[in-house]
């Protein structure tokens, strides 16, 4: 790859919003590894993960006008797009039939699955950090962050009050922050 010039975050955002070819190449070269790692945390199958990575960058290109810098950093926005794309992929019929997953609405099986099988990830990443937490924290973060369930859905799945789910999620994510490198 050719040497890329350096951008400040504001310059990069301007370049992206004006759909500059160079800005997108820079964005891709700088963020592909961390976003790819994030996809692999949800989708261990590299072929599918490769497709999701492509989808993510095309979605960024197509939706850059919707990015509002006053609401957060560019990376946070891209991370949310990436997480949504990966979760949507795991919920798609094609992916489910490939993985022979249980019905995703069967929450208990999801939890059992997570308890019995470590996700097949070779990469160190957020999921590894989540798995270092105590069991009840790990479970709520798994369901919330990696499976994309709402707090209400988790409350039903775990058969615990919504208030407990909220408290547990907040405590879990504070603990997770301590794992950051």
């Amino acid at each position: 790859m050719e040497q890329q010039s350096s951008y400040t975050e504001t310059e990069l955002i301007d370049g992206l919003k004006s759909h500059s070819n160079e800005a997108y190449r820079y964005l891709y070269m700088n963020y592909r590894c961390s976003l790819y790692n994030n996809i692999l945390q949800v989708i261990p199958d590299t072929e599918t993960a490769n497709d999701v990575l492509q989808e993510v960058f095309i979605t960024i290109w197509q939706n850059i006008d919707k990015y509002d810098a006053t609401k957060g950093r560019l990376f946070t926005w891209m991370l949310k797009l990436t997480r949504n794309a990966a979760i949507n992929k795991t919920r798609s019929k094609v992916y489910k039939s490939q993985q022979k997953n249980d019905d995703i609405s069967n929450y208990v099986s999801v939890i059992e699955h997570n308890r019995n099988e470590q996700p097949a990830i070779n990469q160190i990443g957020l999921r590894t950090q989540v798995h270092r937490l105590r069991e009840d924290y790990k479970n709520v973060l798994e369901l919330s962050y990696f499976e994309g369930f709402t707090q209400e859905e988790i409350s039903k799945a775990l058969n615990v009050p919504l208030g407990t789910v909220k408290t547990r999620l907040r405590n879990a994510i504070i603990e997770l922050r301590k794992q950051f490198v």
């Binding site: 790859m1 759909h19 070819n21 997108y24 190449r25 891709y28 592909r32 590894c33 961390s34 790819y36 790692n37 994030n38 692999l40 590299t46 490769n50 990575l53 492509q54 960058f57 095309i58 290109w61 197509q62 609401k71 957060g72 950093r73 990376f75 946070t76 991370l79 949310k80 997480r83 949504n84 094609v94 990469q123 160190i124 990443g125 957020l126 919330s144 962050y145 709402t150 707090q151 999620l169 907040r170 405590n171 879990a172 994510i173 504070i174 997770l176 922050r177 950051f180 490198v181």
Partner: protein, 251 residues
């Protein structure tokens, strides 16, 4: 509200990572405008999260890099909407005529000088049908001087799709490599059409298993000037469904 206990409650972390309820999100967005300390704490967490994620990274395969960079480049191609601005602007006509002339000249130069280079690049670098992975016999045909590559680009929402056709002037044979085309469902098939005398002529079904391979297409009619790929009901059809055009390219 005690803003400090709000800040340390874990809500910021959930908000940044997209795990809040819509009500919690709204509340935080309102509060951050009133409390600079909250705003700063959000930015602080975002920065920490980004640093953490950038350290946990995995390099995608090089062919994936090429594929994605190419699809991003392809999105740059401007779309000219001829129906826009059709209002009464007579004075613009000479300007428009001059622009069209310039565009035509530029297009001609692009066509002559860039097409061959670009097409070759596309054919050689794209994955999975990269030249490096092709059997030697295919590679020999691909590199014949009489081969003219015809790049086929994704249409509309299918911008990421790519394939290249190769026309061998010396033998009249036509070949195809599918670089990227989503798998069709069991009820659907991709169908290749050639344009002859302004009319579409069926060339045949593109089977899923030919992806990434260098395949001869035997039924390409003489006098073809352009090609399209449409998604049709399984088994194909006699007329292309224009709305379902995935790829198109001109010789």
């Amino acid at each position: 509200m005690d803003i400090n206990s709000y800040i340390s409650s874990g809500i910021i972390e959930l908000y940044v990572m997209g795990m809040c309820s819509p009500e919690e999100e709204k509340e935080l967005e309102l509060l951050r405008r009133q409390h600079p300390a909250l705003h700063d704490a959000v930015l602080q967490y975002e920065t920490e999260l980004e640093a953490n994620m950038q350290k946990n990274s995995t390099l995608p395969p090089a062919d994936v890099d090429n594929r994605i960079l190419q699809s991003l480049d392809a999105l740059q191609t401007p779309v000219i909407d001829i129906n826009k601005n059709k209002k009464n602007r007579q004075w613009l006509r000479p300007v428009a005529a001059a622009s069209i002339l310039l565009l035509a000249v530029s297009a001609f130069y692009n066509y002559t000088f860039l097409k061959k280079i670009k097409n070759q690049e596309l054919a050689l670098k794209s994955s999975p049908g990269t030249a490096a992975t092709l059997p030697a016999a295919d590679y020999i045909i691909l590199n014949k001087p009489t081969i003219t590559p015809v790049a086929m680009y994704g249409v509309g929402t299918h911008a990421i799709c790519r394939c290249t056709m190769f026309w061998d002037k010396s033998t009249g044979k036509m070949y195809i490599i599918i670089h990227h085309l989503p798998k069709s469902s069991a009820a659907k098939d991709y169908q290749l059409w050639a344009e002859v005398d302004g009319k579409p002529v069926n060339v045949g079904i593109i089977k899923d298993e030919i992806r990434g391979r260098f395949i001869e297409m035997p039924n390409v009619p003489a006098g073809s000037i352009a090609f399209t790929v449409t998604l049709e009901n399984a088994g194909g059809t006699t007329r292309p469904t224009v709305e379902e055009t995935y790829l198109s390219g001109k010789i």
